[in-house]
Amino acid sequence: MINPQTGVEEVELERLEAAIEAILFTMGNSVELSKIAAAIEHDEETTRKIIRNLMLKYDRADRGIKILELEGSYQLCTKEEYFEQLIRVASQPKRQALTETMLETLSIIAYKQPITRIEIEKIRGVKSDHAVNRLIEYGLIEEVGRLDAPGRPILFATTEEFLRSFGISSLGDLPQASPEMVEEFKEEAEEEIEVET
């Protein structure tokens, strides 16, 4: 029996389809029509018809892959509707955790907000862009404006999500650190000077 679309004997057609599937599978990347034609020993026109026919078969609901046509080349790829399942297998579960750096940065922003990145870096003594970016990504801090200073640096502050996450209703509920601590530092410093002199 001759297949009307391709003009190839049905039994032979099945074998050719299988060979093309094997070729596209193994190559991974796109394969030129001429190469496929040479491999299955048919002319390009017939090969193109066979591939077209095969593409329709891949449309079936029980297939997870399909054939892409790219400027006379062909490539196998997964159907988009299975990305969700792919993600579950392909993506290594990244353990998200707040690093020391991020914790320090967050605490500085919480107590000194609004604050620029430069100020954070001055306090920490090291670059902090990565930590700041991650904290923004996590929705714990956000940009709240720009400082009226040269370069107009961005000011960062904690978000509502931050309050919610820590179960406080306002920044006023943060454990009071600042005033006493500042006082303490001042005193310590003064004492030291007195001891020295």
Partner: protein, 262 residues
């Protein structure tokens, strides 16, 4: 027959024996040991005796054969059930076992050829999948972090900063820091270790304020490990490194000795 034997022809003495048994069409369960031994020796004598490693393995088998040959001449031993023990029994078992694995090796070889016709595909993760990042679970992220802790961290950060800005020195304007000396650090680490013989490397480093100091502390620890004053252990990769003072180490380190490190 001129036996110019390439030793490489045979996988070993067992292989050679199997070859002889095969060639002579001998019943493996009833090896004519005299004949086989003679033939075996003929091969071994014809072998290239350069490669001692290889020849020695063949000689061990020769000794075994000669041993069996001599035992065949003696009245047979009997086992616990009073059955005669055939001196060849053990050798036959070894030969059979070896022959079996040789056969399996051929079987596997065939399969290797067949399976070699399978082709695979390298992983091709679609960019949309590769790019995917898990949504952040803030509850899990902040698990165990309390406001109190956040405040502590803030306090520590500010404290560290205060420490760095030494109020006295900073009032002098620009002062060049003394370089950190290895001899000083050695003394410091020795002192520290004598007070607390088991301590964590991290706790030691935490006393350093500046990068050069951390580096020199590290060098000091390395030196002390080298001369055996300290032993080092780590439970698992990335775990804290544990250092232990070795009181039995008798190397004496005087201050003058230490200065040679500077």
């Amino acid at each position: 027959m001129g036996i110019s034997v390439k030793l490489e022809m045979f996988e070993g003495p067992l292989d050679l024996l199997l070859h002889l048994i095969d060639k002579n069409k001998i019943d493996i369960y009833d090896i004519p040991i005299v004949e086989i031994t003679a033939q075996y020796m003929e091969y071994v004598n014809a072998m290239d005796h350069q490669d001692l490693d290889v020849i020695s393995e063949f000689l061990v088998m020769a000794a075994t054969l000669l041993d069996i040959k001599s035992r065949m001449l003696l009245p047979p031993d009997e086992d616990e059930e009073g059955e005669e023990i055939d001196p060849r029994e053990e050798l036959v078992e070894r030969l059979l076992e070896y022959k079996m694995y040789k056969a399996m090796a051929q079987e596997l070889k065939d399969r290797l050829t067949d399976a070699g016709q399978h082709l695979y595909k390298p992983p091709t993760v679609p960019p949309e999948v590769a790019k995917y990042e898990e949504p952040v679970d803030l509850n899990r992220l902040l698990d165990g972090l309390t406001l109190r802790k956040l405040e502590d961290i803030f306090r520590q950060v500010m404290q560290r900063r205060e420490d760095k800005i030494d109020p006295i020195r900073s009032s002098f304007g620009n002062i060049r820091k003394d370089p950190v000396r290895l001899s000083d650090k050695l003394l410091h680490v020795i002192d520290y270790a004598q007070k607390s013989p088991r301590f964590s490397f991290r706790s030691l480093l935490e006393q350093s304020r500046e990068k050069p100091e951390v580096v020199v502390t590290f060098l000091a620890v390395l030196e002390l490990i080298k001369i055996g004053k300290l032993s080092v252990a780590q439970e698992k990769i990335f775990a804290d490194i544990l250092l232990e003072w070795n009181p039995d180490n008798t190397i004496e380190l005087r201050k003058e000795d230490l200065e040679q490190y500077d």
